[in-house]
């Protein structure tokens, strides 16, 4: 009668299967097919220079060896100097960034700001978020000259996009009751901010600022590549000289600092919240 004849086949057909992630079979197979076609096209288009690659393996080996035996003392002066510059840039840029971000966030919160202000602040945030730090750094280095000042401005600018956006979203989510209570007592706009808004968003602001401090340090290692100061410049020089053991030492220092910053900032955030 039916096509299913043997008990084993019947057992197979009756078996429960987990539901697929994409319910529509046409869409599911379509996506798979398109993905396969794309992979074929993409993998065909990559030029791979095997001679250069095998030559690179030896260098890769040297780098791994350098990682196992990092050279901290060879360029100690440059390492300490670049590292200190990175820390200093991070601190100043984060503080400046917070100082500018708070007003921008207030302006970008729909429940506080009038429409024109809202659009201007959101535009500023979008502008800061779309371009990579490194592109901003190129422009600022061209304008302000080489050195940490261009780096500080770059980090400040990208801090604004990050901090204002997240803070503004937090302000939009606050409990309206407390704001209305302050308004009902006849509080001015500044008093409203101070007593109705600030206590509600303060833990989040502190948490975000610490997180951004972290990110800024990481980014300060990058923007040095285009001449905006910090440990990135030292790292770039080390790679240019093929001094993999020095480069490995710098990378290890970056990893350690980022780990330490991450653990301490999450501890502080837990204590604040």
């Amino acid at each position: 009668m039916s096509t299913v004849s043997t008990p084993a086949a019947m057992e197979r057909a009756r078996r429960w299967r987990p539901p697929p992630l994409i319910a529509n079979p046409l869409l599911r197979w379509g996506i798979l097919l398109a993905g396969a076609a794309y992979l074929y096209l993409a993998l065909n288009g990559i030029p791979v220079n095997w001679a250069r690659l095998s030559e690179g393996l030896e260098r890769g080996g040297r780098f791994v060896a350098g990682f196992l035996n990092p050279n901290f003392t060879g360029r100690l002066d440059e390492l300490v100097d670049g590292f200190a510059e990175s820390v200093v840039m991070t601190v100043v840029a984060t503080v400046l960034g917070i100082l500018v971000s708070v007003p921008v966030a207030l302006g970008a919160a729909r429940n506080l700001a009038p429409r024109p202000v809202y659009y201007v602040c959101r535009g500023l945030i979008a502008l800061s978020r779309t371009f990579q730090e490194i592109i901003i750094a190129i422009l600022f280095v061209a304008m302000f000259g080489f050195g940490p000042f261009a780096g500080v401005l770059t980090l400040t600018f990208s801090t604004i996009g990050f901090l204002s956006k997240l803070l503004a979203e937090d302000i939009e989510d606050i409990d309206r009751g407390q704001m209305e209570a302050i308004r009902a007592t006849g509080g001015s706009w500044l008093q409203l901010l101070n007593y109705g808004v600030q206590p509600q968003v303060m833990p989040r602001l502190i948490g975000l600022s610490l997180y951004r401090l972290d990110i800024n340090f990481r980014e300060s290692a990058v923007i040095g590549i285009v001449g905006a100061g910090g440990i990135g410049a030292t790292l770039n020089t080390a790679f240019d000289r093929y001094e993999y053991d020095v480069a490995a030492a710098i990378l290890l220092v970056i990893i350690l600092v980022v780990m330490a910053a991450e653990y301490s900032s999450s501890a502080i955030r837990r204590w604040v919240q």
Binding site: L43, A142, F149
Partner: protein
Amino acid sequence: MPVATVAGTKVWQRRARGTQFAIWLGWLAATLVVVLSWNVISERTMWMFVEDAHVQAADLLGRMVPPRWSYMDRLWQPLWDTLNIATLGTLIAIVFGVPLAFLAARNTTPSRLLVRPVALFVIVASRSINSLIWALLLVSIIGPGVLAGILAIAFRSVGFIGKLLYEALEEIDDSAVEAIQATGASRPQVIGYAMVPQVMPAFAGISVFRWDINIRESTVLGLVGAGGIGLQLEASISQLAWREASVIFLVILVAVLASEWLSARIRHAII
């Protein structure tokens, strides 16, 4: 309750004197650190260059507009490369990041003492180093080109996917796990039927999110020689061809906005 006596009357205070003093000291120390840091930066800055920054900015803008639109013809291939770097890099990162997450999550790791710390270190190391630095390293090892870019993106994304996925794994609902265990299922079956379905939406969201970030990052990898549209940017800037650079900036802007829109759409459809 902290109370101060002012002119014979008791006045309520928010904090005790010691606490207030400690907070004040904290602010003083923080301000000092910032001022000293600023001094270091100020010493290393040529203020002459900063003072004529507005002139430089106006000059730069004057050289950038109008963009040389005909340059667009030569940007399609680099744009395709950029897309490939981001997508293939993300795929490689998924292949390695998912097992890494299972090794790192407290409830799936084979050994908390031996395997978990190693997996966590790999995740932190991958995350702490920006993809541009990975690219710098890989270009110096395997030579400039698209391959270095793909690997740089993959190296950076492994940690990102690993971290977010292992956190999602640790936060799953245990009752489903217990229910599957109660049927006598083996360890792989518990993972396959109780854990994977719970983190699947999170996994899809994380991957798409990372792809979006990777498009953004792969546009600049070329600055250190790792392929993509950044190579053209580097070439234009070093030739001071700012009219071409401004076309590239606009292309990057459009690419970033498009990928952001697409990833938001996909995440919206999944979640």
